[in-house]
């Protein structure tokens, strides 16, 4: 099967600074791999299978060799599409790019809680079904894709026909990030460039409230006193 993994399609929210005015200052932050991007790649690889094909796709100004350093044979980028506030517009740009990559069975993207609308909107643009919160995937004999996902305390198994859009979530840190040698080799490989027109944005973000700051408490004194005070505080807050 052929699966597309989409990566580095947003900036890390950790690089954003919310000013007192409510304005968000992104500084010079570039598009970067999200926490769920490695999980999306694993799902794409599982769907493609040993003989299949995984194609990497990214947009914007991030380092596109990310997927190549992780064993993907070919990767494409649409550098003109910058970070957009409108999640549907981001999805629209991604859909344009996906259509340029020929027939595919699955498009896998990180199911990022900071951008919850992108994966469903991508499915809408493509006219395909979508499943979110995907933890793992496998191929079944009849050409269907079988995924698992956590639903509360249960693990749900779903069988799907293709083509499909999957939103993947990571269970933890990336198991084995590539070393320097793999990264250097990946950087030397060619990356295809796609021409995608940045869609008009229908949504703009006008204000971001600063996250509520719960004042930090500093407990001084001798280590033993401080530890005792900490226990008292935690008990007081019902945490112990």
């Amino acid at each position: 099967m052929k699966a597309i993994v989409i990566y580095k399609w947003a900036r890390a929210t950790a690089s954003a600074r919310v000013r007192e005015s409510g304005e968000v200052d992104w500084g010079a932050a570039k598009m970067t791999a999200g926490d769920d991007d490695p999980a999306a790649l694993d799902v794409a690889k599982a769907i493609a299978g040993a003989d299949g094909d995984v194609v990497g796709l990214t947009i914007g100004d991030g380092e596109a060799a990310w997927a190549l350093a992780r064993g993907v044979a070919t990767a494409f980028t649409a550098p003109q599409v910058g970070p957009l506030a409108d999640e549907s517009a981001t999805a629209g740009a991604l859909a344009q790019a996906v259509r340029q990559l020929g027939e595919v069975d699955a498009v896998v993207i990180g199911d990022d809680p900071a951008h919850p609308g992108v994966a469903p909107a991508l499915a809408a643009h493509l006219g395909w079904p979508v499943v979110l919160a995907v933890g793992s995937a496998a191929l079944s004999g009849d050409g269907r894709v079988v995924i698992t996902r956590k639903a509360g305390a249960e693990v749900e198994t779903i069988s799907l026909v293709t083509p499909v859009v999957l939103g993947a979530v990571a269970a933890g840190e990336e198991a084995r990030p590539p070393g320097m040698m793999e990264t250097i080799k990946a950087r030397k490989k060619p990356i295809g460039e796609l021409s995608v027109a940045a869609p008009a944005e229908a949504v703009t973000s006008t204000q971001t409230r600063r996250p509520a700051r719960s004042g930090a408490k500093l407990l001084g004194g001798e280590p033993a006193e401080a530890a005792a005070a900490l226990v008292t505080e935690l008990r007081g807050d019902g945490l112990l």
């Binding site: 600074r17 010079a28 320097m180 040698m181």
Partner: protein, 435 residues
């Protein structure tokens, strides 16, 4: 090195650390057509550098003509103020000069922006910039440095340039530096306070795009060896204290308390009023001057920038970035020569040591050799501020008693100060020699 070993390399040069020193040397060597790998442990170049500073940037013109226009600099520093700060008085030596604007002598910079720009220049020049990897060992064979290790990977090269900053593990690994004595180290605690561009220009009395740099001694450190600094960026003010570790420890003082006290000082707080805290952090600074450097060269290795102990705190200026750039230029030239000759022995690479000594870096390090020792004297931090304030109080406090000449006023102030005539003479002499 044999031809075999030469054929077996991944890069001509591997530079460890994409600060000012690393980027400048990588850029120079890539421009000369050498295969360069620039490794930086931060996720992005500049990501790890707290801060910024006042960059005495004339040296950058040699590397990037038009540096001030092209690079992301904040303000052109045209006002330098040395401030003796006391609890309820201060005496400033405030020097403003438009000659400092043309040619530009110093700029304020924020490293997150500057280092990212420098790394981009390296990339455009053909260097491979590799952020997100920490070099954790040197490959040394028969006393010759042959590359670096990072995790499972080993990369071979002809010359390694260690530009990994104040805590340089690379030069320690190579046996070029011992563990630093603590009085060679200082801790810097710093905040960046956001303010409107126009508000900054009003408060600091600046023309558009120009900036001020304050060096402060006295009450900002409550007598701990070190000083305070404050300088203007385009839309923020960087302010903090640099404190000698040994003195801090001896007095049981807290660096963060001193930092907070400085920002809230009655004469400092008005500059920052209504500002928004954008960044806060702490960092080690090497302050040893020449005494810290054991050697700069080993077969296949050169050490540059703050990794080589090249930093100067003269009391009037804190310098590190310009020395980093200067040493990088000298090293790049020597390494290029060594690559040309195919000889990476200390005899050839030692060219670097030589040209460093001959350029402004070596000369200034030598000139200010005594500054660290002079700055260890405590009178500078405790006693001169009140003394100066008493002199000026005698001059300006027209309390209807008959005035005395300045000399007499000064003499009276000196009598009630812990500073004796002899101290004054000795410190004056030492200051002239050290600074």
């Amino acid at each position: 090195m044999t031809a075999d070993a030469d054929a077996d390399v991944d890069f001509d040069v591997i530079v460890v650390g994409a600060g000012v020193a690393g980027c400048v040397s990588a850029f120079q060597l890539a421009t000369a057509g050498r295969g360069v790998l620039l490794v930086e442990r931060g996720a992005e170049p500049g990501a790890k550098a707290l801060s910024g500073g006042v960059f005495y940037c004339r040296v950058m013109e040699q590397v990037f003509p038009g540096f001030v226009e092209a690079a992301p600099v904040e303000r052109v520093i045209t006002r330098n103020c040395l401030s003796f700060l006391n609890p309820s008085s201060f005496v400033n030596i405030d020097y403003g000069d438009q000659r400092l604007a043309s040619p530009v002598n110093a700029v304020s910079v924020l490293r997150a922006k500057l280092d990212a720009w420098l790394a981009e220049q390296c990339e455009s020049a053909g260097a491979m910039v590799m952020p997100g990897f920490r070099v954790d060992r040197l490959l040394i064979e028969d006393g010759q440095v042959r590359g670096i290790g990072a995790g499972e990977d080993e990369l071979r090269c002809k010359v390694v340039i260690a530009a990994d900053g104040v805590n340089s593990f690379v030069s320690r690994d190579a046996g070029l530096r011992s563990k630093d004595r603590t009085n060679h180290l200082a801790v810097g605690v710093k905040s960046v306070i956001g303010l409107d561009r126009a508000v900054i220009e009003d408060r600091f009395n600046l023309e558009d795009g120009q900036g001020a740099a304050y060096a402060v001694v006295g009450d900002c450190t409550k007598g701990v060896g070190g000083g305070g600094f404050m300088y203007t960026n385009l839309e923020s003010v960087s302010i903090g204290v640099v404190l000698r570790l040994d003195d801090l420890k001896r007095r049981g003082a807290s660096a963060t308390d001193l930092h907070d006290g400085f920002l809230n000082h009655r004469f400092v707080a008005p500059f920052l009023k209504g500002g928004e805290l954008l960044e806060y952090g702490a960092h080690l600074v090497a302050e040893g001057g020449l005494a810290m450097i054991r050697d700069l060269v080993k077969p296949g290795l050169v050490v540059i920038g703050e990794a080589a102990g090249l930093a100067l705190n003269t009391g009037l200026t804190v310098r590190g970035m310009d020395l980093a750039a200067g040493s990088a230029i000298a090293a790049a030239r020597a390494v290029d020569g060594a690559l040309e000759a195919g000889d990476y022995s200390p005899a050839t690479l030692g060219e670097y040591r030589q040209s460093l000594q001959e350029c402004f870096v070596g000369r200034d390090m030598e000139t200010f050799r005594r500054a660290p020792a002079f700055l260890e004297g405590t009178r500078m931090f405790n006693d001169y501020g009140p003394l100066l304030a008493d002199v000026f109080h005698g001059v300006y406090n027209l309390d209807l008693r008959p005035r005395r000449h300045l000399l007499k006023t000064a003499r009276a102030a000196l009598r009630s100060s812990p500073v004796g005539w002899l101290d004054l003479a000795r410190d004056g002499w030492n200051a002239l020699r050290a600074l």
